[in-house]
Assembly symmetry: C2
Homo-oligomer: 108 residues x 2
Amino acid sequence: MGKQMTEMLKGTLEGIVLALLALGPAYGYEITARLRDQGFADIAEGTVYALLVRIEQRGLVDVEKVPSEKGPPRKVFTLNARGREALDEFWSSWGFLADRLAHLKEGQ
Amino acid sequence: MGKQMTEMLKGTLEGIVLALLALGPAYGYEITARLRDQGFADIAEGTVYALLVRIEQRGLVDVEKVPSEKGPPRKVFTLNARGREALDEFWSSWGFLADRLAHLKEGQ
DNA sequence: ACCGGTACATAGTAACGCTGAATAGTGGAT
DNA sequence: ATCCACTATTCAGCGTTACTATGTACCGGT
């Protein structure tokens, strides 16, 4: 992936994943697949798993182990109240930034 | 500043500064002031100067020392052709990301 | 027995913005 | 004369994040 996008994803990738989880519970492998569908083709699996560990440790998600028919057991993540709060804060920060940049792009 | 915004600025702050320089040449101290005017109230001076060093080393700006009436000489930065190219790439990456996130915010 | 798809995990690295401080010149207030 | 505020730049050390590369493990089809 471009270095530019790599840097730009810092901080936003977490928000993106929280937003995906707001649509419904999901497990890591599934999230990487959804990211690919969303156009983030080159996000490494390892990146997603590391991110999920972080948001779990910060208590933004509830975790459940669910057996899979075709592989090791899945770790299903569900956004909880604190996670929804974090997602709201993310949208707020993002909104500010997007607003500023839209303003700048207009040529002032 | 919020940790969230700190992380989100990674990658975008450079684009913001390039966009400011696209409006006309400026020196470091002036850029931090413009950022404040634009609403980025809490961006550290040291951050801006470090960023300017980076974009100078990457050849995105031309630099000129200009004496100041009220202090040490100013380093005036002017966006050059490579800088405008980098700015275009930034807007392209930003556009992609903003588009994806707008899509996500709609609830899918 | 092997290979590909599913599923999770981690050690090491690079990049970036922040904190805090140092340096240095000018002008006005006390 | 001295102190303070404003102008202007620079640097060392830190924390966070995403990437690379690799390893583990389970399953079904050939």
